[in-house]
Protein backbone atom coordinates (compact mmCIF):
# COMPACT_ATOMS: atom_id res chain seq x y z
CA UNK A 1 0.00 0.00 0.00
CA UNK A 2 1.42 3.39 -0.97
CA UNK A 3 1.60 6.32 1.45
CA UNK A 4 -0.98 8.25 -0.58
CA UNK A 5 -3.48 5.40 -0.15
CA UNK A 6 -3.76 6.31 3.52
CA UNK A 7 -5.24 9.64 2.51
CA UNK A 8 -7.88 8.29 0.16
CA UNK A 9 -11.34 8.83 1.62
CA UNK A 10 -13.35 5.73 2.40
CA UNK A 11 -17.08 6.24 2.68
CA UNK A 12 -19.20 4.69 5.39
CA UNK A 13 -22.68 3.80 4.23
CA UNK A 14 -25.68 2.86 6.32
CA UNK A 15 -27.06 -0.67 5.97
CA UNK A 16 -30.14 0.80 4.28
CA UNK A 17 -28.05 2.63 1.68
CA UNK A 18 -26.14 -0.56 1.00
CA UNK A 19 -29.39 -2.52 0.65
CA UNK A 20 -30.63 -0.02 -1.97
CA UNK A 21 -27.28 -0.15 -3.77
CA UNK A 22 -27.32 -3.97 -3.90
CA UNK A 23 -30.95 -4.02 -5.06
CA UNK A 24 -30.15 -1.64 -7.92
CA UNK A 25 -26.98 -3.35 -9.07
CA UNK A 26 -26.64 -6.65 -10.91
CA UNK A 27 -24.28 -9.39 -9.80
CA UNK A 28 -20.76 -8.77 -11.01
CA UNK A 29 -21.10 -4.99 -10.81
CA UNK A 30 -19.55 -4.69 -7.36
CA UNK A 31 -17.25 -6.45 -4.88
CA UNK A 32 -18.92 -7.47 -1.61
CA UNK A 33 -16.45 -8.55 1.05
CA UNK A 34 -16.98 -10.07 4.48
CA UNK A 35 -13.80 -9.47 6.51
CA UNK A 36 -14.84 -11.47 9.56
CA UNK A 37 -13.72 -14.93 10.57
CA UNK A 38 -14.97 -18.11 8.82
CA UNK A 39 -17.23 -19.21 11.67
CA UNK A 40 -18.92 -15.79 11.72
CA UNK A 41 -19.42 -15.95 7.95
CA UNK A 42 -20.88 -19.44 8.26
CA UNK A 43 -23.47 -18.28 10.81
CA UNK A 44 -24.73 -15.58 8.50
CA UNK A 45 -23.48 -13.37 5.68
CA UNK A 46 -24.87 -11.06 3.03
CA UNK A 47 -25.79 -13.05 -0.09
CA UNK A 48 -22.89 -13.22 -2.51
CA UNK A 49 -20.32 -11.91 -0.02
CA UNK A 50 -16.77 -13.16 -0.50
CA UNK A 51 -15.05 -14.19 2.71
CA UNK A 52 -11.62 -12.55 3.03
CA UNK A 53 -10.74 -12.34 6.74
CA UNK A 54 -9.17 -9.00 7.53
CA UNK A 55 -5.74 -10.51 8.27
CA UNK A 56 -5.65 -12.03 4.78
CA UNK A 57 -6.71 -8.89 2.90
CA UNK A 58 -3.23 -7.63 1.96
CA UNK A 59 -2.42 -10.96 0.30
CA UNK A 60 -5.79 -11.42 -1.40
CA UNK A 61 -6.51 -8.00 -2.86
CA UNK A 62 -5.98 -9.43 -6.32
CA UNK A 63 -9.26 -11.35 -5.88
CA UNK A 64 -11.14 -8.05 -6.03
CA UNK A 65 -11.79 -6.08 -9.19
CA UNK A 66 -10.33 -2.60 -8.54
CA UNK A 67 -12.55 -1.06 -11.25
CA UNK A 68 -15.72 -1.88 -9.31
CA UNK A 69 -17.07 -0.38 -6.09
CA UNK A 70 -16.17 -2.50 -3.06
CA UNK A 71 -18.44 -2.89 -0.06
CA UNK A 72 -16.87 -4.22 3.11
CA UNK A 73 -18.37 -5.28 6.39
Amino acid sequence: MRILDYFKPVSTWSAEKIRKFLNQKKSGEYNLVDVRQPQEYEQGHLPGAQLIPVGELPNRLAELDPTKPTIVY
Binding site: S14, S27, Y41, G44, H45, L46, A49, Q50, L51
Partner: protein, 182 residues
Protein backbone atom coordinates in the same frame (compact mmCIF):
# COMPACT_ATOMS: atom_id res chain seq x y z
CA UNK B 1 -21.13 -0.79 6.14
CA UNK B 2 -21.77 1.27 9.24
CA UNK B 3 -22.56 -1.02 12.15
CA UNK B 4 -21.35 -4.13 10.34
CA UNK B 5 -23.67 -7.04 9.77
CA UNK B 6 -25.48 -6.36 13.05
CA UNK B 7 -26.96 -3.29 11.39
CA UNK B 8 -28.35 -5.41 8.53
CA UNK B 9 -32.10 -5.79 8.92
CA UNK B 10 -32.88 -8.64 6.60
CA UNK B 11 -32.24 -12.24 5.75
CA UNK B 12 -28.71 -13.50 5.54
CA UNK B 13 -27.31 -16.58 3.87
CA UNK B 14 -25.75 -19.31 5.98
CA UNK B 15 -22.99 -21.80 5.43
CA UNK B 16 -19.36 -21.96 4.44
CA UNK B 17 -18.17 -20.15 1.30
CA UNK B 18 -18.39 -23.38 -0.71
CA UNK B 19 -21.92 -24.24 0.50
CA UNK B 20 -24.10 -25.57 -2.29
CA UNK B 21 -21.29 -25.57 -4.84
CA UNK B 22 -21.25 -29.37 -4.75
CA UNK B 23 -24.34 -29.16 -6.97
CA UNK B 24 -22.26 -27.35 -9.59
CA UNK B 25 -18.79 -28.96 -9.47
CA UNK B 26 -15.97 -27.64 -11.69
CA UNK B 27 -16.01 -29.13 -15.16
CA UNK B 28 -19.78 -29.43 -15.26
CA UNK B 29 -21.03 -28.70 -18.74
CA UNK B 30 -23.50 -25.92 -19.44
CA UNK B 31 -26.41 -28.25 -20.22
CA UNK B 32 -25.87 -30.21 -17.01
CA UNK B 33 -25.60 -26.97 -15.04
CA UNK B 34 -28.94 -25.77 -16.40
CA UNK B 35 -30.41 -29.22 -15.71
CA UNK B 36 -29.23 -29.09 -12.10
CA UNK B 37 -30.67 -25.60 -11.59
CA UNK B 38 -33.95 -26.82 -13.16
CA UNK B 39 -34.09 -29.72 -10.68
CA UNK B 40 -33.65 -27.35 -7.72
CA UNK B 41 -36.38 -25.04 -9.04
CA UNK B 42 -38.65 -28.05 -9.57
CA UNK B 43 -37.96 -29.17 -5.98
CA UNK B 44 -39.13 -25.77 -4.71
CA UNK B 45 -42.18 -25.97 -6.99
CA UNK B 46 -43.11 -29.34 -5.47
CA UNK B 47 -42.71 -27.88 -1.97
CA UNK B 48 -45.05 -24.95 -2.66
CA UNK B 49 -47.49 -27.15 -4.61
CA UNK B 50 -47.76 -29.59 -1.73
CA UNK B 51 -48.35 -26.77 0.76
CA UNK B 52 -51.01 -25.24 -1.51
CA UNK B 53 -52.81 -28.60 -1.62
CA UNK B 54 -52.66 -29.40 2.09
CA UNK B 55 -53.17 -26.01 3.74
CA UNK B 56 -56.84 -25.18 4.22
CA UNK B 57 -56.69 -21.47 4.96
CA UNK B 58 -57.57 -19.75 1.67
CA UNK B 59 -55.17 -16.82 1.81
CA UNK B 60 -52.22 -19.10 2.62
CA UNK B 61 -53.31 -21.47 -0.15
CA UNK B 62 -53.30 -18.55 -2.58
CA UNK B 63 -49.81 -17.49 -1.48
CA UNK B 64 -48.33 -20.93 -2.05
CA UNK B 65 -50.07 -21.26 -5.41
CA UNK B 66 -48.47 -17.94 -6.40
CA UNK B 67 -45.04 -19.13 -5.25
CA UNK B 68 -45.51 -22.39 -7.18
CA UNK B 69 -46.24 -20.35 -10.33
CA UNK B 70 -43.05 -18.32 -9.76
CA UNK B 71 -41.03 -21.51 -9.70
CA UNK B 72 -42.73 -22.68 -12.89
CA UNK B 73 -41.68 -19.39 -14.52
CA UNK B 74 -38.11 -19.95 -13.34
CA UNK B 75 -38.13 -23.39 -14.97
CA UNK B 76 -39.41 -21.85 -18.22
CA UNK B 77 -36.61 -19.27 -18.05
CA UNK B 78 -34.10 -22.08 -17.69
CA UNK B 79 -35.49 -23.92 -20.71
CA UNK B 80 -35.26 -20.70 -22.76
CA UNK B 81 -31.66 -20.23 -21.59
CA UNK B 82 -30.88 -23.80 -22.61
CA UNK B 83 -32.13 -23.14 -26.13
CA UNK B 84 -30.43 -19.74 -26.34
CA UNK B 85 -27.01 -20.94 -25.19
CA UNK B 86 -27.02 -24.39 -26.78
CA UNK B 87 -28.93 -23.56 -29.97
CA UNK B 88 -31.51 -26.32 -29.55
CA UNK B 89 -34.32 -27.27 -27.15
CA UNK B 90 -33.52 -29.87 -24.49
CA UNK B 91 -33.92 -33.50 -25.50
CA UNK B 92 -36.79 -35.54 -24.08
CA UNK B 93 -35.89 -36.89 -20.68
CA UNK B 94 -34.37 -33.51 -19.64
CA UNK B 95 -32.85 -33.13 -17.17
CA UNK B 96 -32.47 -36.70 -15.90
CA UNK B 97 -30.66 -37.96 -18.99
CA UNK B 98 -27.88 -35.41 -18.75
CA UNK B 99 -27.12 -35.37 -15.05
CA UNK B 100 -24.82 -37.92 -13.49
CA UNK B 101 -25.25 -38.83 -9.83
CA UNK B 102 -28.63 -37.31 -9.05
CA UNK B 103 -29.47 -36.74 -5.38
CA UNK B 104 -31.66 -39.27 -3.59
CA UNK B 105 -34.98 -37.51 -3.20
CA UNK B 106 -36.19 -34.15 -4.45
CA UNK B 107 -33.97 -31.26 -3.39
CA UNK B 108 -35.22 -27.69 -3.32
CA UNK B 109 -33.37 -24.40 -3.57
CA UNK B 110 -31.21 -23.85 -0.54
CA UNK B 111 -30.27 -27.54 -0.55
CA UNK B 112 -33.00 -28.93 1.70
CA UNK B 113 -34.80 -32.16 0.80
CA UNK B 114 -38.40 -31.40 -0.14
CA UNK B 115 -39.86 -34.11 2.11
CA UNK B 116 -37.83 -32.80 5.08
CA UNK B 117 -39.06 -29.26 4.47
CA UNK B 118 -42.66 -30.50 4.22
CA UNK B 119 -42.32 -32.55 7.41
CA UNK B 120 -40.91 -29.51 9.23
CA UNK B 121 -43.77 -27.34 7.93
CA UNK B 122 -46.55 -29.58 9.31
CA UNK B 123 -48.64 -27.61 11.79
CA UNK B 124 -46.41 -24.53 11.58
CA UNK B 125 -47.95 -21.06 11.19
CA UNK B 126 -47.77 -19.44 7.76
CA UNK B 127 -45.25 -16.83 8.94
CA UNK B 128 -42.75 -19.51 9.97
CA UNK B 129 -43.15 -21.40 6.69
CA UNK B 130 -42.56 -18.16 4.77
CA UNK B 131 -39.51 -17.56 6.94
CA UNK B 132 -38.15 -21.00 6.03
CA UNK B 133 -38.84 -20.30 2.35
CA UNK B 134 -37.01 -16.97 2.55
CA UNK B 135 -34.07 -18.56 4.31
CA UNK B 136 -33.77 -21.25 1.62
CA UNK B 137 -34.25 -18.78 -1.24
CA UNK B 138 -31.62 -16.46 0.30
CA UNK B 139 -29.16 -19.34 0.35
CA UNK B 140 -30.02 -20.09 -3.26
CA UNK B 141 -29.44 -16.41 -4.21
CA UNK B 142 -26.13 -16.52 -2.33
CA UNK B 143 -25.07 -19.65 -4.23
CA UNK B 144 -25.83 -18.21 -7.68
CA UNK B 145 -24.01 -14.95 -6.83
CA UNK B 146 -20.95 -16.89 -5.71
CA UNK B 147 -21.06 -19.05 -8.83
CA UNK B 148 -20.96 -15.85 -10.96
CA UNK B 149 -17.69 -14.97 -9.21
CA UNK B 150 -16.25 -18.46 -9.29
CA UNK B 151 -17.11 -19.55 -12.83
CA UNK B 152 -14.60 -18.74 -15.53
CA UNK B 153 -16.66 -19.90 -18.51
CA UNK B 154 -18.48 -16.85 -19.96
CA UNK B 155 -21.67 -18.72 -20.90
CA UNK B 156 -21.93 -20.30 -17.47
CA UNK B 157 -21.26 -16.93 -15.85
CA UNK B 158 -24.12 -15.44 -17.85
CA UNK B 159 -26.47 -18.29 -16.83
CA UNK B 160 -25.67 -17.72 -13.16
CA UNK B 161 -26.11 -13.96 -13.54
CA UNK B 162 -29.60 -14.50 -14.97
CA UNK B 163 -30.45 -17.03 -12.25
CA UNK B 164 -29.25 -14.68 -9.50
CA UNK B 165 -31.39 -11.85 -10.89
CA UNK B 166 -34.43 -14.20 -10.99
CA UNK B 167 -33.80 -15.19 -7.36
CA UNK B 168 -33.47 -11.54 -6.37
CA UNK B 169 -36.92 -10.79 -7.83
CA UNK B 170 -38.36 -13.89 -6.17
CA UNK B 171 -36.92 -12.82 -2.81
CA UNK B 172 -38.52 -9.40 -3.24
CA UNK B 173 -41.87 -11.13 -3.82
CA UNK B 174 -41.41 -13.34 -0.76
CA UNK B 175 -40.29 -10.40 1.37
CA UNK B 176 -43.41 -8.39 0.58
CA UNK B 177 -45.60 -11.43 1.38
CA UNK B 178 -43.71 -11.97 4.64
CA UNK B 179 -44.02 -8.32 5.68
CA UNK B 180 -47.78 -8.35 4.96
CA UNK B 181 -48.28 -11.42 7.14
CA UNK B 182 -46.22 -10.14 10.10
Amino acid sequence: MKGGIKAWDGFVAEGIPEAGMAYFPPGTHLEEMIGLAWLLEDGSRKFYESLAETIEEQEAKGIFQSLKRSEERHKTTLLKMYEEFLGKPPASGFPATMISGQPAGDVMEGGMLVNEALKWSEGKPLEEILELSMSLETNSYDLYLKMVQKTEDDSLKEVFKILSEEEKKHLEQLTSLFVKKR
